[in-house]
Symmetry: C2
Subunit: 358 residues, 2 copies
Amino acid sequence: MTDLKNDLYLRTLRGEKVERTPIWVMRQAGRYLPEYRATRKQAGDFLTLCKTPELACEVTMQPIDRFGLDAAILFSDILTIPDAMGLELVLEEGVGPVFNKPIRSQADIDALGVPDAEDDLGYVMNAVRVIRQELNGRVPLIGFTGSPWTLASYMVEGSGSKDFRRIKGFMFESPKSAHQLLQIITDSVIEYLKAQVKAGAQSLMVFDTWGGMLSTENYQRFSLDYMAQIVSALKADAQCQDTPIVLFTKGGGQWLEMMADTGCDGLGLDWTVDIAQAKHRVGDRVVLQGNMDPVVMNTHAPQVSEQAMAVLNAYGTHEDQHKGHIFNLGHGIQPFAKPENMQALVQTVQTESGQFHP
Amino acid sequence: MTDLKNDLYLRTLRGEKVERTPIWVMRQAGRYLPEYRATRKQAGDFLTLCKTPELACEVTMQPIDRFGLDAAILFSDILTIPDAMGLELVLEEGVGPVFNKPIRSQADIDALGVPDAEDDLGYVMNAVRVIRQELNGRVPLIGFTGSPWTLASYMVEGSGSKDFRRIKGFMFESPKSAHQLLQIITDSVIEYLKAQVKAGAQSLMVFDTWGGMLSTENYQRFSLDYMAQIVSALKADAQCQDTPIVLFTKGGGQWLEMMADTGCDGLGLDWTVDIAQAKHRVGDRVVLQGNMDPVVMNTHAPQVSEQAMAVLNAYGTHEDQHKGHIFNLGHGIQPFAKPENMQALVQTVQTESGQFHP
């Protein structure tokens, strides 16, 4: 593997003193980019795009080529594990993810096994390998997974949900079975992330899209405890222990201290969180990643620069008692975002953030 | 007006020492009740139900008659003010609210006026009067409004939204116009709430359904500041100053201290908030209202009682350094909730909460 030409993102995640704030953007390879839409059209559907390593590599590279971001993120879906477990994922434009065979009984849970990361999810590992080769050391590659709670939610609901009444009903009425389900997902996620690192992922992110729908106590029991297991397992693995892990719970602003307690390296912040307060709450334990409102990307360049500066200013000067800041949006960039605003964003962060790193 | 037979809810909101925890439930008059569905069917559509004081009274009374809750809440919609402003509200089952004439330009904002609470919104005031008469002092009547930010969101989006890109784009690109819109809504809300009190509302609640979609700074500027204006205006009015006001921002768990600073009497908490922590954060400034996960109401009576006890236990013993607790769900009860679970909930809170009031 080639040495990294731009390792700013990894140095920041290790808590090193750096020259400026690195930037990448959640869902940076996505529908807002015309070249992405072209590749996606060529693939025919989203799952084919995910399952064809060369195409996944192509879209992963697009925002790196166009904007010069400081990290690439594996193009994939958060629901690859349940798909490999046999739930049959269907992704249709405008409908959102649907499982043909959702979890509806104890027997369904008992029948689940941990997918083999190379045999059953080889297309993901192949994508990681192809992307690493194509990146050729330009920037680091981020691997990722959905959180156990988020995967369980989709698996039990069978699709997205507004109220999560199936998975929550299950949690309230059959907590033992819910924990059984979460444990097998967690075991699968651990194998999946280890395999991503072995294939070449240089950093990892856990997307807990739906943990924020839980009460504080249930968040801890049904989402955070399993993410903590994942962090521990990775940190106990000789090949993975140096690979930084970032946890992101959308709507988790109330729980940053508990999240930092897992021993993860960084926390993703959604845009509702005051990053200045977050910095004081987590102290020197974790790097913070975020957190501009994604909707700003639908406005114009002056607003984008202004709001990006507001986030940089809110985090403020990088001091020894805090671990650092990685610029990102507070959630994935949306299909209606303007590509030229991404240019303005990257430029603002890359040219203006040096002043906060004296 | 008759003296109240059950004034537990009002005594709690005034911070008095009480004998047990009062309970009412957001959207307690709603689709989960067969008698509500019958009245609604009779009315033909939702807006007719809101606009016919006798029918609004009928559905307001239904959960009081059936469950013996400690407060009634005016049956109405949060979007009556924009409707009275001329935006033409349409409420269709399964679609959510839509405005035929949304706000799309500066001229649209300039054309807005403050509706006269009796001339333009007389049906609401008549409903308050009819309900007060029908209640005949059984329990207090809560009046309510949507928050200025929430009303502005619907007015600009023209309907519900997942990303609020129109209203937020407007806020980022034309903050002066956004403030102009919020101010006229705020002026209207103040008149509306004053009129509700004069018509007989004994307590008020402001529902900030969408404030939680904002960054901390924008929440303060575009939502909370206007709610603070409302609180101040009511507290400065001789006829309204003794009427307690509760603010509820869904997703606002990070901002409780700021919300308490408005001088309101109580804060509604959604189910994600740890009520024990909230109690310590707000000290003796406000009563807390909430916050069981509404999805529990879809399970069975043992889970309902268990989770209700968990909330009562989390708030814990009522002590002098805290102002008090009103039991509620953390959001409106959902159509799929089981009426028998409401019975179990009310019974648990009314029979078991005395132990927390030594």
